[in-house]
């Protein structure tokens, strides 16, 4: 929480999507809290984390939304596609079904997210090599097809987790002008605590 009150130059909203139980929450908690537990619980609806990082000399606040993977929740999660500047699409390398769903997730992004949104494809659970069902090459090929970057990560062993988030943040940052006035959200957010003292929003 302390980091949230520090000033920052830019805010980027990231969205994590992918089939149920591929490890979205694990990745997020590894990245935001540097913790891992094999007993992570189901995400119902939407969850939310903040991480402030230094990126190429700028202070960037990442607002990361973690969504429920199951189909039924798309009614809720879909409305959060809009306004996201980066989307982290996760599959599980030990479960081919989740890899096969990547195309339908990409279609979802096309339908519901902003046209210019940055994307990254992630094959999680790379530590579980013996159960692998999707090869690195396949993952890379699919990522190339969509023209997005690809990582194989392990939330458990902390492999590539920071890299993938930094990459998508950097891509989004390059696209978004840092001038807060061009950013509808930044406009309100960048003024940070100062705006809070205005009676308008807190009265």
């Amino acid at each position: 929480m302390t980091s949230s009150s520090r000033p920052f130059d830019l805010q980027i909203k990231l969205l994590m999507i992918g089939d149920s139980a591929v490890g979205k929450t694990s990745l997020l908690l590894r990245y935001a809290n540097d913790t891992f537990s094999s007993t992570f619980i189901t995400t119902i609806g939407i969850d939310f984390k903040i991480k402030t990082i230094d990126l190429d000399g700028k202070r960037v606040k990442l607002q990361i939304w973690d969504t429920a993977g199951q189909e039924q929740f798309r009614t809720i999660t879909r409305s959060y596609f809009r306004g996201a500047q980066g989307i982290v699409l996760v599959y599980d390398i030990t479960d081919r079904g989740t890899f096969n769903s990547v195309r339908s997730w990409m279609a979802q992004i096309n339908d519901h997210a902003d046209a210019q949104v940055n994307r990254v494809l992630i094959g999680n659970k790379a530590d579980f090599e013996t159960a692998r069902q999707v090869s690195t090459e396949e993952g890379q090929r699919l990522a190339d097809e969509y023209g997005v970057k690809f990582f194989e990560t392990s939330a458990k062993n902390d492999v590539n987790v920071t890299e993938c988030f930094t990459t998508i943040a950097r891509e989004a940052k390059a696209r978004i002008p840092t001038d807060p006035n061009n950013n509808r959200q930044g406009q309100r957010l960048n003024s940070g605590r100062a705006s809070g003292s205005k009676p308008g929003c807190c009265k």
Binding site: S4, T35, T42, Q70, I76, G196, C201
Partner: protein, 594 residues
Amino acid sequence: MLQALMATDPMIGFVEEDDFSEMGDETAASSWASWPSRSSSSSDMMIHPGARLRAVVEKAKLSLASVESRAARAVAHVRRVIDDEMDHVRRIIDDEVDRMRSLRLRREDVDAKRRSLHFLGHPTRETTMEAAQRMVRWLRREAELLAIGFSDESSDGDASEISEARRSLLDDLTAWRALVEEVPAAPEEIPVLTLADRRRAELSREALCETPGRVLHRVYVLVGDARALAKAAFVCRAFRDRTDRDAAGRLLWKWTLRHGTRPKTGTRACRGLWLSLAAAARDDFDFRAPGLDDLVLPQPVREGQWRAQIAVDAARTPLSRLWRGLAVPEEEATTFDQLDARRLKPYRSLVARVCDVVASTHPRLGYCQGVDYVVAYALRATCLDPDDAHLLVATLLDSFDLAGLFEPGLPSLKKRCLELGLLLEARCPDLAHHLANHGVQMELFAAAWIQTLFVYVDALPLDVLDLVWTLLLFERSWKIVHRLALAIFVTLEPHVLRRCHAPHETLLFISQLTTADRPARRATTSGDDVQAVDLFFDDDDAKKILRCAMNIKVTRSMLARIGANELLPKPLRARVSATDDDHHGHTLTTIARR
């Protein structure tokens, strides 16, 4: 006298929070949750409406010394009278106890599984005399409880009026004792000489049976223990008739479940209560329904499309939290707190089994994440009996519209969130404005709260869940869910308004309730460092939030208005709400009089 005392509505007393606000926390906090050990101060809250309370407390303080001696005398008198009573019927009772004991053992052998269900609907075999004799035992126990409550009289509240109530009760007891002496112990011993004699004997027998019912009714108003209430209904037909059939009886139940002592989940009493309530809520509820293994499923579950998802989720439902304090059946010494993941595994199959059956018997719903939480909590409440848990979940899904929260498109969820949004606007306009300003939609938090009936909310103590589930089942209305959600918002409001100046701060603060790792100890209760989880930390916080929830008025008529797209009435905004569903002359007076 008791009737006169109770001629004011305790519900109203409870809802008008403002009346308590000047009382100081302790008085207002004299909570139902601490019954029966503090039943005297709780009775104060119960009997007096908020408006009268302040005056009454002043009066009580002035006459404290005399009140205390009178209270002590009254307690001694209650005990003496009851001891006399017991001497009179000791022989009968000893036989009765033996009979009950053997009966219970037999029933346990024969039908242990369904036993707890029967305590509200036990087939009636007792003769009226037997009923009366059993009543003596119950009266004695409950009166002793009362006496304990009376003896730790505190300076708060109007103790003198309480002792009036006590004396009134005592008068009834004495009168009843006279009746018992008048009537022969067994009906066949009545010498039938003339028609007039016979009639007189019949009359006094009726009176004998009628009076303890009435007395007991009053006792329970003061004791407020759901379990004792159910037991009394179980052993005494006269009392059961009283509590099951008329409005006053239902009101007594309503009051006891809301403000009295409820059985905790994980106990047999709770299982019996919830299943009885579930049974009452649906017509086709069949206690002798086939077990899960015998159930002929409309579609094969094993190969069903939901199988894989259920397996994944059942493996990660937070059982050790949801089954906290619940003893493992085979190893009585261990509880689920101490079970590691490996040893918890066999129990996870219970969750999966129930989810399987739910998925195949509810094709429209199938399986949706969140159902596993509801199932896990139902398993807790039914002491890990998958058949009973399935009945409970199926009832919630079918008769309480829980299925609509999970079905494709989440139709009912939108409705509930809309309702909650409007209620929040009425109850906490500042917070509603703040959330709207920050673009925070109600669905973001409330969806998971409502869908899982708060089981997903890590921060909430299980006591809070118990109340919500009990009242949901009893009231058959979503009022209590909204009330708790509003209570959470009310608790968060000052902190959100003070420290969350940007959308992400608001989001982060509120989302802690579901994602926080609970710290070992409370960081701080004030200042800018306070976290949302700190506000729901221990038993006191649980009591606080429950009290808050019970103080918030949400009625069926409000929900109906929202459903009909009508605006909520202006008065609601000032929280001077007319309460349609509590308007049927439902006052404690009614309970006590009948």
